[in-house]
Amino acid sequence: MNIQSEQTVGGLVVRVAEPRIDAAVAIRFKDRMRELIADPSQKVILDLSQVGFLDSSGLGAVVAVMKMLPPDRPLELSHLTPPVQKVFRLTRMDRVFTIHPDGADPADAA
């Protein structure tokens, strides 16, 4: 069942990339949709694998993003490159965020 979803300003847009929603796929459709819309208070994982440089303004922005989220919606970080890791460590912000160790893919865990 091919279903794509995209977070937009207007909401979560879920596109059913299938020609039919019929008896043959109804259950799978429901299951996939349940996953996609599950837990509105779910966590946000910020993947920084492509960010090689982060300064104090960038760090402040990441902190600001955490503060935008309600308390039951944690912001977690993954794939920090060494220079970015250093900034988090020196500012002790590595204690404030859950930072996923390299290799582990946080999106795999429910």
Binding site: F53, D55, V63, A64, K67, V87, T91
Partner: protein, 142 residues
């Protein structure tokens, strides 16, 4: 620090994009002169010092910044000059980290000077005839 042949000398506008550009040139200049890890340290230190000038010294206006750099025996000596506002209290900030208090709001700023102090040595700030001079050294060789 008197300019010598082989130094990098840059003049830039007080804008975040000009800072980016200067950091790119600086990185190109230092590549080969010190290891990648040291280079990353110089980049973050200079980013903080330069962005502070843009945000605080030239707040509400704009001006020129000059940057000079010398790599020598694993050290990178940097000096930065501007003619914006002086540092508060006439001295470079101590860069003490406001540690997050449980339940308290997390700071979104105030990390800059902590990073500069953590990553550099011999920080010297002077205000001379309406200009700011900052010099510091980064041990980029290890």
């Amino acid at each position: 620090m008197q300019p010598e042949p082989g130094d990098l000398q840059l003049e830039l506008d007080s804008s975040p994009l000009a800072v980016r550009g200067a950091l790119t040139e600086m990185t190109a200049y230092l590549r080969g002169r010190c290891p990648e890890e040291g280079l990353a340290v110089v980049e973050i230190v200079l980013a903080e010092a330069l962005n502070n000038i843009v945000e605080h010294a030239y707040v509400g206006g704009s001006g020129r910044i000059t940057l000079c750099l010398r790599a020598h025996a694993g050290d990178v000596q940097c000096c930065i000059a501007d003619h914006g506002l002086p540092m508060p209290g006439g001295a470079a900030p101590a860069g003490r980290l406001r540690l997050p208090v449980p339940g308290g709001a997390l700071p979104e700023g105030g990390f800059g000077w902590h990073l500069i102090r953590s990553l550099s040595q011999d920080v010297d700030y002077r205000r001379v005839s309406g200009r700011n001079y900052l010099s510091l050294r980064v041990q980029a060789g290890q």
